[in-house]
Symmetry: C2
Subunit: 246 residues, 2 copies
């Protein structure tokens, strides 16, 4: 692209796999007075794209960092999704493995804000199926693909509509999935959710008279995690605290 615009500025690669090596090189050159532009072939650097480490290192070194505002598929897709835009969460790519993806989605089942996900086309139908398992089949959602390109397409419907559609006709291109938050219909009852750190939950349950095992079982049930896993975490966090307060 630079060549087609006769831009002769030297370029070097910067991506996830050489980021750790590149950052100190770049900071050295910046400290010596160089100016460096971090560009990406699509979207905004540092948003589901390498760049965060370089920005942080530059700021830590006292180097001025300025944004050149540009496109982001998350914002563009959200703006045409027809789903509430006043508050939203950006989740990026879900874990690729089934179990991790399920846990990530389960942790979002009570999220009240509109959620924005990126997904690879080949995983779209499976991810929509996993979303149905976590959020229910009637949750409103939109799939936006190839945004800003010739074959841009926005498909709206329930998660079930979308899963059927993209199971039958697999999509190509880059995908943004927008999912309405939980209980958009019942948005009035915003006091009906609690978010709490696990150690605080355990402590409150112990104070109410439950044993550590019982408390772990309750927390495991509420969080969708294994009872043994929660119990081990609790034991571990107690050990960490030992030197301080026992």
């Amino acid at each position: 692209m630079l060549a087609s615009h006769q831009i002769a500025t030297p370029t070097i690669s910067y991506f996830e796999h050489n980021e750790e090596r590149r950052v100190p090189e770049m900071i050295e050159r910046l400290s010596a007075g160089a100016q460096i532009a971090l560009v990406t072939d699509a979207g905004t650097p540092a948003i589901s794209d390498p760049g965060f480490r370089l920005v942080r290192a530059a700021l830590d070194a006292g180097i001025r960092v300025v944004a050149v505002p540009g496109a982001s598929a998350a914002i563009a897709a959200l703006s045409v999704s027809g789903l509430p835009t006043d508050r939203f969460t950006f989740e990026g790519f879900l874990p690729a493995r089934d179990g991790s993806r399920r846990r990530a989605l389960d942790a979002l089942c009570a999220e009240a804000r509109t959620m924005v996900f990126y997904e690879a086309a080949r995983r779209l139908a499976d991810t929509l199926a996993a979303m149905i398992a976590a959020f229910g089949d009637s949750r409103p959602a939109a799939v936006v693909r190839e945004i800003s390109k010739t074959y841009e397409e926005t498909v709206r419907g329930t998660l079930l509509d979308l899963e059927r559609r993209f199971r039958a006709t697999p999509a190509l291109g880059e995908i943004t999935i927008i999912v309405a938050g939980a209980s958009t219909g019942a948005a009035a009852s915003d006091g009906a959710l609690i978010t709490v750190e696990v150690p605080n939950a355990i402590e409150a349950l112990r104070e109410a008279g439950l044993s550590l095992k019982q408390a772990s079982a309750v927390v495991a049930k509420l969080s969708g995690r294994g009872r043994r896993e929660v119990y081990q975490d609790v034991l571990k966090s107690r050990e960490d605290d030992d030197s301080a307060d026992e």
Copy 2:
């Protein structure tokens, strides 16, 4: 701006206070075959900006809606903030009134994702003070102002650093506040938060052997609400269910 580029396309106003009246007019014209571009003087339409109602109405009427991806202060500011960008929440403008603002911030005190807020310059120091009350004074944050303009400035530090700085030297211009999520230091334990609906929490506690009153007390403690309030809610939701399952 259109005039300076000799663009003669007719324009009409569309803003928060005439949105309800404009939407049906626009849908009528679109249905008759017109093409309409929704533009804004800054940022992306429908993101902390009017547009959502028109997009939704157009989609409901079967009209194709296409995004022209452009700038968003939220994304641009986040990309230069040096704070984690892999997941974030966009909160827009907080309520202007003290009590509502405090409640909105308290509800975010356990939010683990990086948070993005918009704020008016004249309220910046007070909002930072309210954030200190909700999140603690050592939470890492960044204030980005006048993004993409001549006097663009990014100031990073703890909430306390930022509050002192902007209390002493009030900022001008449009402000984006980026606040790190809770326990960024302990980011490894991403299973350490649970979000749960109150009725489900009560049910799990009752199954663990607590009385309804004890369960309400635990939930009240964890959610920061009054015990009586939670108890009344629970009784009420039971009454609502009565016809169905008792």
